[in-house]
Symmetry: C2
Subunit: 298 residues, 2 copies
């Protein structure tokens, strides 16, 4: 898909409607985002938080059937209740409003009552709409795992490929990004890339064309790949990027946002349901995009 | 300065003319770059390489006083001769044409006849003109030192601040870039940032406002810094960025080039003279920008 509008078009065409449990969604950006998503018809919302602070928002009188309230003033209690809604099958997606991320994660990661089954890897997926790139670009992990182990990379690849499939990419092109194409024992990540590419050929991650280590040019520009004389089955048209570490993924996120006018979406993955943890500094548009991403991913 | 054109204007206004020793400059991009720089009047060139392959270029008949030839067919020998010109004070800047970078570095790093005095740190400086950023942006190190030690970071900061001064920035704003502003013993780089900021206050790196760890938003967007509530003396207007590792610096280089339409320049630093090591895949414009950067840095 070329852009977030096409994601929403796809949700509407498929008549997808998901139930979002929004924790303390008292901020205007969260309100704008869910209002737009309700209006487009692809979500219903359960507002878990202080009812008096939100019930006057116009959207709730406009679409009363699409909104429920659970009135809880304490943020941590609201988080616990929202997680319980997921367990009860009463909500599909969790969304963070004005609650500290660490507090939310404490509830999500609780071994007995949380949302991360034993053996699953918690990680973060971003999706970028970059005006100068021809289609949407997934990448991991700009926010959660600082320096992934090989085992964590395997899990991340699995989630990523699965998400690409849900976006209609039958055989997604995924790049393992490093600063060079060279495989060198001085750089353990380059050896891990080689290993993962081998494993991908046996079907370990599902249907995917995986290549790496590749630099960002070779991953995302067929022209640059040709000039450098690098042959890659991705042909400079990566659908998704797995970065070496949070440092490079985070710089990518912020570079393309600040200097490439990219629109973003983001999600926690590995949990029982997609979790939107955009921060209060994220725009209403980013939150809206993230809801759309979560709905198609669920 | 806002852009590379202003760098060239500054060179011309200051009547700066440097002597560039170009090693095997037989490729069209190198030729275009030096032709433009000769025409603008800020360099003379000593072509060290196979004379028969270059003497027919039109620039040499147009500006015969600005070009000398040293006819050497073997690339390694040409590199040795070019380095010798620097030692003899007959050239100011070294520029790589069609010679393998490893071969050139072997000559440059030779302990007896090379250009890196004992105790100096070899590193790479990039300069970006990003259309959506209000001025030129220096950054390190996208190409040479994979994972700098604290001692290497000190040297890099010294070079960077010194270069900023030469660009007319009396008190440059330099950011130590990480994925978050938090200082946390789990992330040794964040502790190093704190240490370097302390040292900067005692004047260890010359006149500079240094801050970090900062993420890219806080370093380069006053709006983002304000939304996040982060107070930084840089005020989101960094002149220069020091990245945690080659992985993030390299991703920054390639992100802003591919998706932010940035123009680039690059140099080796730490050596007795600036060394331009742009690769054959770099555009003539990048090589030209790099010559201008080298001339003002020398």
């Amino acid at each position: 898909m070329k852009n977030f509008k096409m994601v929403v078009d796809c949700l509407k065409a498929s008549k997808i409607k998901k139930r979002v449990a929004l924790i303390c969604g008292v901020d205007s950006h969260s309100q704008e985002a869910i209002s737009a998503a309700i209006r487009e018809g692809f979500i219903e919302v359960i507002m878990v938080g202080p009812k008096s602070e939100v019930e006057s928002y116009p959207i709730f009188s406009e679409f009363p059937d699409s909104v429920q309230f659970i009135d809880i003033s304490d943020a941590d209690q609201a988080a616990k209740q929202a997680v319980e809604l997921i367990h009860q099958g009463k909500a599909d997606i969790l969304m963070k409003g004005i609650i500290n991320t660490d507090n939310l994660l404490r509830v999500v990661l609780n071994k007995h009552t949380g949302l991360l089954p034993s053996g699953r890897v918690l990680t973060h997926l971003s999706l970028a709409e970059i005006p100068t790139y021809e289609h949407l670009l997934f990448f991991m992990d700009a926010a959660v795992i600082p320096y992934p182990t090989l085992e964590q990379r395997r899990a991340m690849l699995g989630y990523m490929v699965n998400t690409c499939h849900k976006f209609g990419l039958e055989v997604p092109r995924v790049a393992l990004v490093h600063f060079t194409e060279k495989v060198d024992s001085k750089f353990p990540y380059s050896l891990e890339c080689e290993q993962l590419v081998q494993e991908s050929k046996t079907g370990a991650f599902g249907k995917v064309v995986l290549d790496g280590p590749l630099d960002l040019f070779t991953a995302c520009s067929s022209e640059a790949a040709a000039i450098k004389g690098i042959e890659s089955p991705l042909n400079g048209q990566a659908d998704a990027l797995l970065f070496a570490s949070i440092e490079s993924a985070n710089v990518f996120y912020k570079s393309v946002t600040l200097f490439g006018q990219a629109e973003m979406a983001g999600l926690l993955m590995g949990t029982d349901c997609p979790i939107i943890i955009t921060s209060r500094s994220d725009s209403a548009q980013t939150k809206y995009n993230s809801i759309a991403l979560a709905c198609l991913t669920h």
